[in-house]
Amino acid sequence: MSEQANAPARPTGAGWNELDRRGIPVAAIFMLGVAVLAGVPTAIGLSAISTTVALAWTLPGAAFVVIAGVVAEWLRHRTTRYRVGPDRVELHSGVLIRRRRSLQRDRIRTVDVTADPLLRVFGLVSVRVGTGERADDGTVRLSPVTRDTGDELRRTLLDRVGDGTAEGTLAVLDKGWIRYAPLSFVAPALGSAAFGGVLNVADWFDLAGGVIAWAVDRLAGFGLLGGIAVLVASGLAVGVIGALGLWVEMWWNYRLDREPGGTLRVRRGLLTTRSISLEEERLRGVDVVEPLGARLSGAARVDAVATGMATGTENTKTDHNTLLPAAPKAVADRVAAEVLREPVSPTEAVRLRPHPIAARGRRVRWALATVVVGELPLVVLGVLLTDVLLHIAWITAVVAVPVAVALAFDAYRSLGHGSVGDYLVARSGSVRRSTVALQCRGIIGWTVRQSVFQRRAGLSTVLATTAAGAGAYAIRDVGTGTGLDAADAAVPGLLAPFLERAPAPAPVREPVPDLA
């Protein structure tokens, strides 16, 4: 056994498992898909020369891509072995460079199981085992294994000593929540992406000019403003449909459970199913996020603030830390409270203290500066070239200035901080209002920032650094003294040796309301 540690060959024998053999056909189908997607436009482009040339180039290329994919997957299958021992999980992998990874079992914090449609057809899943560490070294990815193996891995690796906590369901999907999907910024983004996509595909066939001419022809009947309105409306329609589709794919069959041993588990997904497990021990708070559209319709999303969540590039796009999608505010508050095992969510119970009025001036100035920067090119070009641009500039300014100022006032109204129980709560943002409740035991340092402008206004931004979530959560533009007092109260003793209080009797700290 001891040679195994040094032997370069793949380990065999007791306890060592291989990945599922069906990974090879999965890779073959996937590469075939890639070959078709890349090959078809190339073939069409080349067929302008001659069909024979096109086929002569693309078919061998496609065959090569598929064969290379299969060979690579076969090598990976042959060289990858994993073992779940009593103390550690070990993974040996790599064809040219042998890599060994070994995770201590009592450090394992997350076991996520995902299955894309292709894997699901074969009854396979991909398992990601993670420790608290942020680096890639802290994760082991086993892909693919059978669904049963995946479930068993999840159960064995996260099964701590059951302390008798009852299993319970915190939230299940209400199909009505889909109404919040089109309100997100996904819709306009998808809409404009659709236009770009159409032009891009047309460009492959050298038809971009034709498509534009066709569209201009069609819209000619509506006049300039009408044409723009039709374009915007159709873009939005496409975006809304896309947002609805995306929402269904991401959140279908969503449920949030609490499992024995203190683990929260999110399950969701229509085509690609995901199961994300989070140990409550790792939870340091929650973030109740209200994007503007959702907020106006009374909805909020709940994100976990937890250590050891995948924060790398790999998972930012899959909303790994979202515990609840946009849902009515009351549901969000209830889920936030239950996740933290509190009677009332600290984000609700807290009495937020507003920040000095100077913070509003800063927001108004930022808003106006943004408008000016946006208008500047129009004005410069207008002066140099044509009056039309100047007219567009003043018309957009008439619309943009009130909107920007309204957002600035709203952003100021959102600002606030407070504390309730063991939680520090901070809120900020208008377009994306976020109310973070952070457990004070999770705060592992302070950063205080002050720009020259803030210094003149007597403001500071106080950041609580934490191992969880985004790494730091800010109390923005708070009165310097108030912010420091709040920080000092949240983690007694840490900041105190570095504070200077007024020689006059120390300001009486505001009595902190308990759960309201």
């Binding site: 009025i357 340092g445 720009s451 985004a470 730091a472 300001p507």
Partner: protein, 175 residues
Amino acid sequence: MTTSTTNATAPPPSSTRLRPPRNPVDRRAVGWWTTNLLLLAAAPVAVLVVLGYLITPARFWLIAPAVLIAAVGLVAAAALPRWWFRVHRWEVTDTAVYTRTGFFWQEWRVAPLSRIQTVDTRRGPLEQRFGLATVVVTTASAKGAVTIPGLDHALAADIAEQLTLTTQAVEGDAT
């Protein structure tokens, strides 16, 4: 409207402030920062001047920005390091590391010793020339690292060793 009412009910502003950390950085840091800024400005200036020398028709449009960058660089190199020297301060107590950096965007950082994960000293080529080193203290937070630049390199090594010893005594994974 709403804000004026909230202001009326708000308690009087607190006058609590952060005191400056006890220790200044090494005097030689001024030289290091000045050299850094000069080199930073010299690189684009050199490129522009060479191009201006070679490309006669565009000479004015290449030399003019070069002069501008050189002027800004010289002023910055003359003024900023002295300012920074006044502002950059650090302190290590029995319980925490405390630093102040920046001038236009001033920043105070506090990291408790009990949460420190790694302590490194860094020495770039320029820093070695000036006999300086930078101490970098990281915690479990992605944004919690505390750096103390411009220390005498022997002092930096002492601090790093002392911090490492202190933090080794603390159990747990510091999250």
